[in-house]
Symmetry: C2
Subunit: 150 residues, 2 copies
């Protein structure tokens, strides 16, 4: 595979990023790739927040992966900083290429660089392949993830 | 029970908050209530971040509960804002008083006020009472929570 670049998302990436968010069994019902207006507003808000890092993986000029890393200070664990990974997506053409591992490794390295002591994420209970993937990378399924839609 | 106030944490609350973080089967090994230095540094960082809301519940001048609410913008779900609840602690004297429900309700109300579309949290798999508590409040255990210590 040719070289991969992982860099912050910019507005011209939005088409490709939203297409990946929508190309997913769970994402298909939640996204609106034909109307980028809400995504543009969200991108401006993300850009204003120094603890938010939405990145894209680019190969040969094409956006082929994305994830969001949030840095969360806190009081517990002696004032530990933790990071949270959300919205991991790999382009269908790249599945099995090792790109998922490279993206998560980027997030772990960046978390270390920002003095985080813990990286955490949640994965839908139906995504069993994803669970095996995170366990292979050293994550422990130690928690139950609860959600409440408002 | 007398009136309850829920308000942002301040430095003079730290003693009581750290004592609650440490008075917990999992927290006992992780906290250092005799040395508040790391907690003071963390509190300054939290105060500088407009998306962080660490609150305390106060009854008759005593700090009896705490939680951290983090507001997280994002691209997925049409640019939805979500909130994350962490570090929920209720003083031993107040367990069963309904204070946990009041604190979580505060977090849900504040999340709505900040236009969040989703509230999420993770709970250690061993905290079965907590799981029943969150389900009674309408949360769904739809996810597996993964952690990686750095």
């Amino acid at each position: 595979m040719s070289d991969l670049e992982i860099r912050p998302v910019v507005e011209t990436d939005l088409d490709a990023v939203v297409a990946m968010l929508a190309d997913d069994p769970l994402g298909a019902q939640r996204e609106s790739p034909d109307d980028l207006t809400p995504y543009r507003a969200a991108l401006r808000r993300l850009a204003d927040d120094p603890n938010q890092h939405v990145v894209v993986a680019v190969r040969e000029g094409r956006v082929v992966g994305t994830l969001q890393l949030t840095v969360v200070p806190g009081l517990s664990r002696r004032g530990a900083i933790r990071s949270i990974i959300e919205a991991v997506r790999i382009h269908a053409d790249e599945r099995g290429s090792g790109l998922g591992t490279q993206l998560i490794q980027w997030a772990v390295d960046e978390s270390r660089r920002q003095d985080c002591q813990l990286v955490q994420l949640t994965s839908d209970v139906t995504r069993e392949d994803a669970h095996r993937f995170y366990e292979r990378l050293g994550f422990t399924a130690s928690h139950v993830g609860f959600k409440l839609a408002l």
